[in-house]
C-alpha cells in the first residue's frame, strides 16, 4: 500500500489552483484577426509541419475560426489520418508564446533582451551586416542551418548572395550514418520518408527504433498494419518500448553492442546457409570475403558483449530467414549513437542484403516521384571556396554537409572564418551536442539570425529574430515527394497570422530585394511561383488548391514489378565487401568495437521520442503540452528501490562532466535495463519566452556534453554520456 502522503495532498491542491488559473478553452486563448468571418464549416487542404513528414491535412474552420485539423484521405503519406502532433496542429496557431514581431537584440547575446522592430528595420539590419560579411570575408562566410521544407526560399536567397554552407542537423545528428551505411552498400540511401515497406513485411526487426513512440505517421500506421497481419516482430532495445510490447521476440540488449548482435545474426544466417543465395549471387559483390570474416562472430562470441543468449540470437536469426525476402531489418532514423554508426548501419544494410529484401516486397521499395520542374531562376554565382564543414574530406563518406563541421569552422576560423549564421526552424542548442561549444561559436559571429515560430533557446542567442507564420498561415514550396506513390502536395494558408508574422517566402524575397538580388525573384508572390511550376508540370493549380494533393500515375516499386536492379556502387552491385572503405582505411566489412563504459555507479543516458512532441518545438503548443507537459526519467525498479525513489518524485541528473540537469520526475519501471536511463528529448526549456514550457522536465541535450564522431561521415554519436542521480531535497 502506498499511502497518499500529506505532501501529495498539498501538491494536489497546488495543482488544482494552478489548473484553475490556467483553465480556458484553448481556442479561446487568442482571437485571430477575422477579416472574413464565415458562418459554418470550411475545409481547406494543406500539409502538416509539426514534424517534417509533410502529411496531407485538412484544416477546418468553424465560423471563420480555426477549429481542427484532420488527415487528407487523398494523401498517401497520412492515408487520411494524422498523428497526434498533426491533430494538435492548431495549437501552433493559438500558442500565446509564439514570436509576434521582428526583434533586434539590445543586450548581450543569450540574455534575451530585445526591442521590437519593423520588418523593414530588421531586414535592413540583416542585409547591411550580410553585405559587410561578404566584402570582408566573402559570401561563403554566411552559413545556414535549417530543418524542413520551409527553408527552400531562404536558401534560394542565400545562394543568390553566394553562400554555400548549408547544413541540417538531420544529417550529422540524426539519419546521416544510416544513409551513408546504405549508400556504401547499395549505392542509394534510405531517404525520407524511409523506403521501408513495413506494411508488407512479414518479419520486422527494430533495432532501437521505437515506432509508435516515434510517430512518423506512415511508418507508425504501417507498423500497426504489420501487427494486424501478425508479422513476426523482433525488437532490440535496452528499453521495453511500445514496439517491444508488440514483439514476438524482445532482446534487451546491452547499450552500444548492436553491431555485435548484427554480426552474430549474420554469422548464423551465413553459416547455416539461410540467406537468399540467388539474390546474393546475382547482386552481391565480395560475398566470399565477407563470409570469411563473418564466420568468426558466433552467437557465443556475441553473448558476453550483448547480454543476449546464443539460443535467442539463433532463434531470431532463423526467424528472419524464415520470412525472407519479406524480412525488413529497419534501418532506424535517429542513429547517431556511438560513433560507429555508419558501420552499424552498413551491417544492417548487409543483413537486409542477406535476406534479399532490398527492392523486394516487404523489404525496401523503390520510391517514385512526379516530374515537376523547378522554377527557372538565374544561375547562382560560382563559389570561390570549398564548403567549410568537411575540410580535406576528413570524413570521406559524408554526402551532406555536417552541422558540427560548420560549428567547428565558426569556432576556429579554419579553413576559413564563418561570420554569419542563418538558423531556420531548428533549435540548434538542443539539436547539436554540447551546447557550450555552440554558444562559443556564436560569440565569433558578426551576424546571427533566427527565423522561427517560437522563441526557442537558439533564438535567445540571435542578433535578429524573425517571426515566421506557422504552417497554417502560409504557403510553402510545393512538396514533390519521393514515396511509394508519386504525388505533389500543397501547403496553403488556412487562417491569417495573428500578429506581425510573415511567411518564409515573403521574408526570403524581401531580404533578396534588400540585398539587391530582386532579379532572383521574378515572381510577384508565392502563388505565382507555385502556379508556374505546377503549370509547367502540366497540372492544375486550382485542382491542387482544391484537393491539396495531385496523385501521379502508378509506377513500379519492386524489382518484381519491373524496377531495374541497379546499384550505383563502384562495383555496380551490393557491396558485401567494400573496396572504397578499404581504400579509405576503414573496415571493408564492419568490425565490432566494445563501447567505453561510464564511471562506476553511473547510468548511460539514452533519449528518444514521445508521440505527442516534435523535437523541442512543440512543448509550448498548449494542446500537445497538455497531452505531455514534462518528460520523465525512466529508472529500473531495482535501481529505484536502491535509491528509495518512487514514481513521480523529482531528481536531478549529473553527467560525467559535472553538468546538472533541471529537476525531473522519476518513472520507476521494469521497462528498462539497470545500466541505463531514458528520457524523452525536447524538454527542460530554458528560453524565457517559452513561458509555458520553461523549466518543465529536463533537457537531455544539456547533458550531452560528449559525443563520438563517426570517422566515416562526421556524425555525432551522442549515447556516450553517463549520468548519476542527484536526490532533490
Amino acid at each position: 500500500m502506498n499511502p497518499l502522503s500529506r505532501r501529495k495532498f498539498l501538491k494536489i491542491s497546488g495543482a488544482t489552483i494552478a489548473a484553475a488559473a490556467a483553465v480556458g478553452t484553448i481556442s479561446k486563448a487568442i482571437e485571430t484577426s477575422d477579416a472574413a468571418k464565415q458562418k459554418g464549416i470550411q475545409k481547406i487542404p494543406t500539409f502538416c509541419d509539426i514534424c517534417f513528414w509533410k502529411c496531407g491535412a485538412i484544416a477546418y474552420l468553424r465560423n471563420g475560426k480555426l477549429w481542427k485539423v484532420e488527415g487528407n484521405p487523398l494523401d498517401p503519406l497520412s492515408r487520411g489520418r494524422l498523428c497526434p502532433r498533426g491533430t494538435g496542429g492548431i495549437g501552433a496557431h493559438y500558442d500565446p508564446d509564439r514570436l509576434r514581431s521582428p526583434l533586434i537584440r539590445t543586450q548581450e547575446r543569450g540574455e534575451e533582451m530585445w526591442k521590437e522592430v519593423t520588418w523593414d528595420e530588421a531586414l535592413g539590419y540583416i542585409a547591411d551586416k550580410m553585405q559587410k560579411i561578404k566584402s570582408q570575408y566573402g559570401a561563403e562566410s554566411m552559413a545556414l542551418f535549417s530543418h524542413g521544407i520551409g527553408v527552400n526560399f531562404l536558401k534560394h536567397t542565400l545562394k543568390a548572395y553566394g553562400a554555400i554552407n548549408f547544413a541540417a542537423p538531420s544529417f550529422a545528428q540524426c539519419r546521416g550514418p544510416r544513409d551513408v551505411g546504405f549508400k556504401l552498400t547499395y549505392g542509394e540511401d534510405v531517404s525520407s520518408p524511409e523506403r521501408t515497406d513495413i506494411k508488407n513485411s512479414q518479419c520486422l526487426v527494430l533495432i532501437g527504433s521505437h515506432l509508435g513512440e516515434n510517430m512518423h505517421n506512415t511508418q507508425a500506421q504501417e507498423f500497426a498494419d504489420a501487427v494486424q497481419n501478425d508479422a513476426s516482430i523482433i525488437v532490440v532495445d535496452p528499453r521495453f518500448s511500445v514496439a517491444a510490447s508488440k514483439a514476438k521476440y524482445y532482446l534487451p540488449i546491452k547499450p552500444g553492442t548492436d553491431l555485435a548482435l548484427l554480426l552474430a545474426w549474420m554469422n548464423v544466417i551465413v553459416s547455416e546457409n539461410l540467406y537468399d543465395k540467388e539474390y546474393v549471387e546475382k547482386y552481391g559483390f565480395g560475398f566470399e570475403q565477407f563470409k570469411a570474416e563473418i564466420l568468426s562472430y558466433t552467437p557465443e562470441w556475441a553473448y558476453p558483449e550483448t547480454g543476449i543468449e546464443p539460443k535467442l540470437i539463433r532463434a531470431t536469426a532463423r526467424e528472419m530467414a524464415r520470412y525472407k525476402p519479406a524480412t525488413l531489418i529497419h534501418p532506424g532514423r535517429h542513429v547517431t549513437w556511438y560513433g560507429d554508426d555508419a558501420q552499424r548501419s552498413r551491417a544492417i544494410a548487409l543483413l537486409n542484403a542477406l535476406m534479399g529484401s532490398w527492392g523486394r516486397k516487404g523489404g525496401f521499395y523503390y520510391p517514385v516521384n512526379m516530374d515537376v520542374p523547378g522554377y527557372p531562376y538565374p544561375a547562382y554565382p560560382t563559389p570561390a571556396k570549398e564548403k567549410v564543414d568537411n575540410p580535406n574530406k576528413k570524413y570521406p563518406f559524408a554526402h551532406e554537409a555536417i552541422t558540427t563541421g560548420i560549428r567547428e569552422a565558426t569556432l576556429t576560423g579554419n579553413p576559413y572564418p564563418i561570420k554569419g549564421w542563418f538558423v531556420y526552424a531548428t533549435n540548434l542548442l538542443q539539436a547539436l551536442p554540447n551546447e557550450d561549444i555552440t554558444k562559443q561559436a556564436i560569440q565569433n559571429l558578426d551576424l546571427m539570425v533566427v527565423v522561427d515560430v517560437i522563441p526557442s533557446e537558439i533564438a535567445g542567442w540571435a542578433d535578429v529574430v524573425l517571426p515566421e507564420s506557422v504552417y497554417l498561415e502560409r504557403y510553402d514550396d510545393i512538396n514533390v515527394e519521393w514515396f511509394r506513390d508519386s504525388f505533389v502536395a500543397l501547403r496553403q494558408p488556412v487562417v491569417e497570422s495573428p500578429h506581425e508574422q510573415k511567411p518564409n517566402w515573403w521574408i526570403a524575397k524581401k531580404l533578396a530585394e534588400k540585398l539587391g538580388f530582386g532579379n532572383y525573384y521574378p515572381w510577384k508572390d508565392v502563388e505565382e511561383y507555385i502556379n508556374h511550376r505546377i503549370t509547367a508540370a502540366g497540372l492544375s493549380f486550382d485542382e491542387l488548391k482544391k484537393n491539396g494533393i495531385i496523385l501521379g500515375a502508378n509506377q513500379p516499386n519492386y524489382f518484381d514489378e519491373g524496377v531495374p536492379a541497379e546499384f550505383p556502387t563502384p562495383s555496380g552491385k551490393i557491396e558485401f565487401f567494400s573496396l572504397q572503405l578499404q581504400q579509405a582505411g576503414f573496415d571493408p566489412v564492419p568490425k565490432y568495437k566494445r563501447p567505453a563504459g561510464g564511471p562506476a555507479g553511473s547510468f548511460r543516458l539514452l533519449y528518444g521520442r514521445a508521440p505527442v512532441h516534435s523535437f523541442s518545438r512543440t512543448q509550448s503548443n498548449r494542446i500537445l503540452s497538455d497531452a505531455m507537459p514534462e518528460n520523465e526519467v525512466w529508472l529500473n525498479a531495482n535501481i529505484a528501490e536502491r535509491y528509495g525513489l518512487k514514481s513521480g518524485e523529482y531528481i536531478k541528473l549529473k553527467n560525467q562532466d559535472g553538468v546538472v540537469s533541471n529537476k525531473v520526475k522519476v518513472k520507476v519501471t521494469e521497462r528498462i535495463r539497470q545500466d541505463c536511463i531514458y528520457m524523452v528529448h525536447g524538454f527542460g526549456h530554458t528560453a524565457k519566452g517559452l513561458k509555458h514550457a520553461f523549466g518543465k522536465g529536463a533537457s537531455d541535450s544539456q547533458l550531452l556534453t560528449r559525443f563520438e564522431t563517426d570517422p566515416l561521415m562526421g556524425g555525432t554519436g551522442m549515447n556516450v554520456n553517463f549520468v548519476t542521480i542527484e536526490m532533490e531535497g
Binding site: 484553475a20 489520418r81 497526434p84 515506432l211 507508425a220 521495453f240 534487451p252 494542446i623
Partner: protein, 179 residues
C-alpha cells in the same frame, strides 16, 4: 434499438494519444482536462514483460450508476444507442456522479457542470464515427452497434478474445478491449 459501444484492439494500439488530442479539438475540451486518456498496464519482471495499452473513456455503461445517482436528471441515457450524456444546465455540480463512476471518467468542467465523453454524439447523429475513432492512425478503434450481430464491433467481439474494464463493478460497460 441500437446500443453503441467501442472495441479497441490493444494489440494495435501504440498509445500515441491521437484520440486524446482529437477529442480536445473536436469538443473544445478545456486545457488540463481529459475526456479520454491512455493507460499502459505493465506486468512482469524485466525482461519478461507484458504491456497492454488502452485508450479509455466513459464506458457508456448499460447499467450506469452516474445516471442513477444524479438528483436532477442531468445525467441521462440518450435515446440514440444508449449513449450516456450530461445536460449542462440541469447539472448542479454535486459530483455524486464523479464518485459513482468506477472508471473515474467524469470531471467538473471549469464552467461547473459534470463533463465526460459523449461518444461524439453530435457526429454519431450525422452517421460519423466519434472523433477519436476517426483519427486513430493505427486503426485500432472501432465504433458501432453492439446489438447488431452484423456490425463490425459485434463480429470482432465474437471472433476475438476480449475484456471490459472492472466488469465486477456491475455497470455493464460498453467499451471492449481485444487482447
Amino acid at each position: 434499438m441500437a446500443r453503441f459501444g467501442m472495441v479497441i484492439d490493444t494489440k494495435k494500439c501504440v498509445g500515441c494519444m491521437d484520440c486524446v488530442v482529437a477529442c480536445k479539438t473536436e469538443n473544445d475540451v478545456p486545457e488540463a482536462f481529459n475526456r479520454d486518456w491512455i493507460v499502459q498496464d505493465v506486468r512482469g519482471k524485466n525482461p519478461d514483460l507484458h504491456m497492454e495499452i488502452r485508450t479509455e473513456r466513459c464506458n457508456h455503461c448499460d447499467n450506469p450508476p452516474c445516471v442513477y445517482c444524479c438528483p436532477t436528471g442531468a445525467s441521462h441515457v440518450h435515446d440514440l444507442g444508449g449513449i450516456v450524456l450530461v445536460t449542462h444546465d440541469l447539472c448542479i455540480g454535486c459530483k455524486a456522479c464523479l464518485a459513482s463512476c468506477p472508471y473515474d471518467a467524469r470531471f467538473i468542467h471549469p464552467e461547473g457542470y459534470a463533463d465526460k465523453c459523449t461518444f461524439c454524439v453530435h457526429r454519431v447523429e450525422r452517421g460519423l464515427d466519434p472523433a477519436c475513432v476517426s483519427v486513430c492512425p493505427t486503426h485500432c478503434m472501432y465504433f458501432g452497434d453492439l446489438d447488431d450481430p452484423n456490425s463490425q464491433v459485434s463480429k470482432l467481439l465474437a471472433s476475438r478474445k476480449n475484456h471490459s474494464l472492472i466488469p465486477e463493478a456491475g455497470t455493464k460497460p460498453q467499451m471492449f478491449y481485444l487482447v
